[in-house]
Assembly symmetry: C2
Homo-oligomer: 184 residues x 2
């Protein structure tokens, strides 16, 4: 769980990064920033800072802010009862993000998994996204991503976000219930 | 129809505006910019400049660049054979955009329709979007929008774009066939 102090500090850092990138948000959005540590209690290594702009039944758009070397752990968006899982496009806006998916593994990957979590990182085909570059992930595709040494800002364009349906490789991870926001 | 000269000039202006807003695009995107005059042959008044980032069966994201006072004419995204029409969220990134939808008309609207096209602008509920502000339009909702005196950059997050299905109030308008890009 994230403390109020940790939440406020993470939001302040994320907002400073958005400012550098020239991305404007509203006071209302300031008040509902999402800070996710995936229940692992090590936000600096494993976590995301997110503003969700819109999430309707049909589509969703977010800004994902990542601190230097911060990692979103390996997961996928499953097709359930014939309903296709979430499809998402990541577009790098600032910094660098390394995205890993199934396929030929990188000989010398730019990233390492967070220490202690190595067994839960299994896909190693490396896609490097710099500002203006993007990649589209279809449902059921395992993936993880890590920011470069400056951090990264990534726009996500997707079908409806249903975080509670995400499947993580790491059985310790609980995505949906661990988001602290009310305390801000 | 838009001439190659007009196309190249519009793309250069749009790219300069993206630069001011700190929005990065790729050389590949430079080569497939869309410049739409809606068949009216008066791009300065009625037109849009667009980079489509992604458009799959399920979702779509674009950057719309509008010159000062440039107008997207009144149209809607119809539900057809039970398939819901396009849903879209406009998020202002730079400048100001005035969006008009059904509802109580503005007493003193900030915009006027392009001269000579007045009969085809019928909805006058005014929504002002400045950077960071956004509005979501459900299918079948008539709307038009105009940039303020500096122009505007608007991110559009939506379900699949199917421009050929758009319905315009102005019967002179032909959306899909009038896009010049090959000439660039």
């Amino acid at each position: 769980m994230i403390s109020a102090k940790q939440y406020n500090s993470a939001v302040a850092r994320a907002e400073e990064m958005l400012g550098k990138a020239g991305i404007v948000f509203t006071p209302e959005e300031h008040g509902r920033f999402e800070v996710a540590d995936f229940g692992l209690g090590d936000l600096e290594q494993t976590g995301l800072e997110i503003i969700t702009y819109v999430n309707t039944d049909r589509c969703c758009a977010k800004e994902i802010i990542m601190f230097p070397r911060q990692t979103c752990p390996e997961h996928w968006h499953p097709t359930t009862n014939g309903v296709p899982g979430k499809e998402e496009t990541f577009r790098c806006r600032w910094g660098t993000v390394y995205l890993y998916v199934s396929g030929p593994p990188a000989a010398a990957p730019a990233c390492r998994p967070p220490a202690g979590s190595e067994p839960y990182y299994t896909v190693w085909n490396e896609i490097v996204l710099r500002p203006g570059q993007q990649y589209t992930l279809m449902p059921d595709t395992p993936h993880w991503f890590q920011a470069g040494p400056e951090g990264a800002i990534v726009s996500e364009f997707s079908t409806r976000s249903t975080d509670d349906q995400d499947r993580f490789r790491d059985p310790r991870i609980a995505r949906a219930p661990e988001i602290a926001a009310e305390s801000a």
